[in-house]
Amino acid sequence: MMQRASAKSTGAYAPASAKNRAAESLRRLWKDKVTLVSLLFVLLVIFSALAAPVISPHDPTKGSITNRLKPPFWVEGGDPRFILGTDQQGRDVLSRIIWGGRVSLTVGFVCVAISGAFGTLLGLISGYFGKWVDTLIMRIVDIQSSFPGLLVALTFVMVLGPGMWNLIAALTFNGWMVHARMARSQVLSMRETTMVEAARAIGCPTSRTLFGHIFPNIISPLITTYVLEIARIIGAEATMSFLGYGIQPPQSSWGLMIGEGRVYIAQAWWLVTFPGVAIALTILCLNLVGNWVRTELDPLHRTRH
């Protein structure tokens, strides 16, 4: 029995050690240039958000009137000191974009961290215990999901007032449902497995089964959800800040920049264009990365699409 086992276990069909899997993933990533570029862009955005104080060419909050509304440097009238131009207060657009990215990413990550933790926990409980707990939680999820997020966020802001933390509260409040749904569906597929039965048979308490066995095995698809949600929240923050109900001056966020620059749209197109490009690219790349994570972690998905 022992000899046979060795031959079999070193045979060609055993590729699945963690190291091998990671190496294969990276190989596939290299071939898929689009996703590779997206991942690099996301990393760039994160990096510039973290390194903002260092890499930002100017102070985003200070500008002098003499430098007001300068176009990007390649346009006539532009100034090479201000690569993407300046805004109505003479502040450098590129610097504000870098610093704005900091705010937008912070909102995204914080919201998803909180709503993801809360939603995942509820989803785990709902899926594992079933019955009235499940029905209750899913009802709330259904009802809350059917209301458009923008409206809920606006009502929140109306009551609490605008500002970054109130916005985070609003977006977190309305962001947990998708995580709950995802976690629940994953738990449901695991709940009736022999592994869970075995855990019960040896006397595992529920908490250990749920958090020690089920959760580590379902975390992969959850990560996809987290990434996609960060993208969505960044978009939501942009919209809210544009409307004036999100980030408030003197902080800058991409959405706020567009909102402030809108008045000058006829004379200074760059105020509205570049922050928007930043938003669009960030959201798009996060989506592409999220899709890549999904196909990597779920081999079935790969063959279907």
């Binding site: 923008l150 409206l151 606006l154 919209t239 749209i265 798009l284 989506n287």
Partner: protein, 305 residues
């Protein structure tokens, strides 16, 4: 079936009432409308006077009772801002939003459905990849920014259309286009996915083997079965758009619809108007859910109510 619909309608009513109450209680407990409405240097006296005028100094339960009795008569009181019956104001604004949203979805559908079918028909081809990328981009790009970009190029630069306003077809082109981008992407995605799903099924192979021409295979068989998912998506998205998602675009183009009304309501902290808006939104949302659920039964003969 009738029993199911009645049950669901009852449930809808409960949700509508529940949400209205929830918003009422929260805004009255946490909100501070008086501070917003008065200039900064208002005295305590003036504040108290305004509070009394608006009826906000009465105990919450009294206000709640008054609200409830008004709710069943569909009377939300007079808007603080416009001094007209709140619900009437809302209803007056709905047609403009209907117009905008319906045209957007028409444009989106006309473009996205054929493209989705074509993409599904040639999966993995360059065309497919371009279409998939385009659809994803459409979904990821912030709608309000698309609107602003369209304005920059087509209204400011080229002068073909108006930057804002309401009245003629020329006023409508840019807002409709902007609002249609996200639905276009989503419809294309779901059409492609659905169609691909159907085309891979065995009954299609059988139909082809029988000698049916491709056109019949695609339209009479595959499309018919792929349709439910697409129709459901369109239905849900359209409903949510009516329920306030059109706000940013309406804001950009100064479109006098329900969306911009919501924004104004928030800005003016107009509680009666907010309640009327929430009420209408709740109706729209619960109705969409009900219709969607019923439509599943319509499309799938296996489902019985």
């Amino acid at each position: 079936m009738l029993r199911y619909v009645t049950l669901r309608l009852g449930y809808c009513v409960l949700v509508i009432i529940g949400v209205s109450l929830l918003v009422f209680v929260i805004t009255h407990l946490v909100g501070n409308p008086v501070d917003i409405m008065l200039p900064l240097q208002a005295t305590e006296e003036e504040r108290a006077q305004l509070e009394h005028q608006l009826g906000l100094d009465r105990p919450l339960l009294v206000q709640l009772k008054e609200f409830m009795s008004g709710l069943v008569r569909l009377d939300f009181g007079l808007s603080w801002w416009q001094k007209e019956p709140a619900l009437a104001i809302v209803l007056e604004r709905m047609p403009a939003t209907f117009q905008l949203v319906l045209w957007s979805f028409l444009v989106a559908g006309v473009i996205a459905i054929p493209l989705g079918i074509i993409a599904a028909y040639h999966p993995g081809s360059t065309l497919d990849r371009i279409l998939t990328a385009a659809a994803l981009t459409g979904i990821c790009v912030p709608t309000f920014w698309v609107g602003l970009m369209l304005v920059t190029v087509f209204a400011v630069r080229l002068g073909w259309f108006y930057t804002s306003g309401y009245g003629t077809v020329r006023h409508m082109v840019l807002p409709v286009l902007a609002l249609s981008i996200v639905p276009m992407g989503r419809i294309a995605q779901i059409m492609r996915f659905s169609m691909l799903d159907q085309l891979n099924k065995q009954y299609i192979t059988t139909a082809r083997a029988k000698g049916l021409d491709e056109k019949t295979v695609i339209f009479k068989h595959a499309l018919k079965n792929a349709a439910p998912a697409v129709i459901t998506t369109i239905g849900v998205d359209l409903g949510r758009m009516l329920a306030g998602i059109s706000s940013p675009v309406e804001h950009v183009f100064a479109w006098p619809g329900f969306g911009s009304l919501i924004l104004d309501t928030i800005q003016h902290q107009d509680f009666p108007l907010l309640q009327a808006c929430v009420f209408v939104v709740a109706i729209i949302v619960t109705m969409i859910n009900l219709l969607t659920d019923l439509s599943y039964g319509l499309f799938d003969p296996r489902i019985k109510y």
